[in-house]
């Protein structure tokens, strides 16, 4: 089959998402950010809400999200994205507003903004990419860095006696009455991507129905920060990140999801 035949519309199995710009992604090869970007843009495209959506980019690896997402966006100071989103949504209750944040941005410097936006039940969506490390600044310890995990500021592994424990902020915000939908996903397999996309769609549908805040954590990898090739990083993520940050729904329709009790 010639190339010209392959690119005929009827033969295509994959096309670039309409709402992603032509600019090549600046993320490291194998990084999950690009997939998360694409999925959110697919959902906005499919819902036909581009003209009513405002996104907030954080400080961190995804600081340039506005270069890749073909929607109106604001770039926030480090950690302040939920405050910006609050300001926008309060003035434009009919618009769709989401923040896109990393673990340092959302769970360290922006903890207060995160918790209070969740607690007020701002009618927004928060996408929280957790790779347990500060990628942009060169791989320093994040609030979500696992115990014993090596980073450039914990070169001998995170000592919790010295540096505190990894923060499960997703479980924390699920306790707050203002959150309507809280879930943890990943984007390292086609199945995981489909599940995340379903959740992302729910986050925007919740906004349409004025249900309150939707909070989706995406546990992701950082090949460069973890110093692993992409496949190994994904395997490491499954073996080490998932036991501490288990994927799945935590709160749906404002109600905590009951986990099946373990047999004795």
């Amino acid at each position: 089959m010639k190339l010209e035949e392959i690119v005929k519309p009827e033969n295509l199995v994959y096309v670039k998402t309409g709402l992603m710009t032509e600019k090549p992604l600046s993320f490291c090869p194998g990084c999950g950010h690009g997939v998360v970007h694409r999925v959110i843009m697919e959902v906005i495209d499919e819902m036909g809400i581009q003209a009513d959506t405002i996104g907030i980019a954080p400080v961190g690896c995804s600081v340039l999200a506005y270069e890749f997402m073909d929607i109106d966006m604001q770039q926030a100071a480090h950690g302040r994205a939920p405050a910006l989103a609050t300001g926008i949504k309060r003035c434009w209750p009919g618009k769709f507003v989401f923040t896109y944040q990393g673990d340092g941005d959302l769970a360290a410097i922006g903890t207060a903004e995160t918790i209070h936006a969740c607690n007020r039940g701002e009618n927004i969506a928060i996408f929280f990419v957790n790779n347990g490390i500060y990628g942009m600044t060169g791989g320093q310890m994040a609030p979500t860095t696992l115990e014993g995990m090596r980073t450039s500021t914990t070169p001998f592994g995170r000592d919790v006696a010295l540096m505190g424990n990894p923060l499960k902020i997703t479980e924390l915000v699920a306790q707050l009455p203002g959150t309507y939908f809280v879930a943890r996903h990943s984007v390292h397999t086609p199945l995981a991507v489909r599940k995340f996309k379903k959740a992302a769609r729910m986050a925007f549908e919740n906004q349409r129905l004025n249900k309150g805040l939707s909070f989706i954590e995406i546990v992701s990898n950082c090949n460069s920060g973890w110093k692993m090739p992409p496949v190994q990083a994904n395997k490491w993520m499954e073996e080490n990140m998932f036991p501490f940050y288990p994927p799945g729904d935590i709160k749906v329709n404002g109600e905590p999801v009951r986990k099946a009790e373990k047999p004795e």
Binding site: D72, M73, Q75, G87
Partner: protein, 374 residues
Amino acid sequence: MGQLLFTVKKWMNENISAMGEIKLMKGNEAFAEAAIRSGCDAYFGYPITPQSEVMEYLAYQEPHKRTGMVLLQAESEVAAINMVYGAAGTGKRVMTSSSSPGISLMQEGISYMAGSELPCLIMNVMRGGPGLGTIQPSQSDYFQTVKGGGHGDYRMIALAPASVQEMSDFVKLGFELAFKYRNPVVILSDGIIGQMMEKVELFPQQPRLTEFDQSWATTGKPPGRKRNIITSLDLDPAKHEKHNEKLQEKYHRMCENEVRFEKIGCDDAEYLIVAYGSCARISQKAIKLAREKGIKVGLLRLITLYPFPYVEIGHLAGKIKGILSVELSAGQMIEDVRLAVEGRVKVALHNRMGGMVPTPEDVFHALVKSFSIG
């Protein structure tokens, strides 16, 4: 007593929304009432003495019922200024207010807003510092306001009200200037102006704008329009230098067009007092005392602190024997006065700090002593 207070408040509530009437109000209350009347879309704030009446007044007025204005108490000044950032980025008329320690917390957001060229109105009801300082009035945030405060090369127009009337009027003016230059504007008030009660003529209710320039704002990208981005980031240094040059050109235009001041008794003056805000009010009495004693003193009351009236002060310096800078700080504004004077006449300082305030007699005696008059 409680019932009486409630009745009085209810009466105020029902009567204040009428047009152009004269009221006896606190500076902070006049500011809040003017916010609603100016057609402001949203106020985000956090309580701090001595400006808490602003949000209290707004809350009692229920501005969402009067004009649809949004009012939200944020979790911190940091969050408040960033809520302002978000809403301002959609083209709305947004404001916040605080006092010195709270304004310090807002500096990051203010720098981002200047970098992203967002219009907004910020009031600082100054109290004494440094640190937690005191809740008493001060003017020690002059440098922070006119020289930057946050990081990076940016400037903001700073308006200095000297009466409750101006606490009201400058809201309207401040929004006009903020949108004219797409830049934050600061109303630099102090604990005296914020807390004192005076007669104020309130301007009539202006409508909130339902149609406004959205060409640059992030309100959702309709088909056919390029996406709008609100950001202060540019990783390309050559492009970022161009952006900085554009900002500087804007600040230059402010200096060309927006210098404001009031001259009181300057025509025949042999000595000049330069002051703003509460110190200008005190100095106004002081020049009266001096003139009763036959000393010809004028007052240059600064209305804009940035842009600073360098030209006017330089012009006056050529005609007088000495200038007294009166301020509630260790001597901050005096540095700009000296820059304007360029050594042509003696410039002296009379100041109080830490929440203390001079009397008109103090200022008069300082004038006599500084220039060995009589």
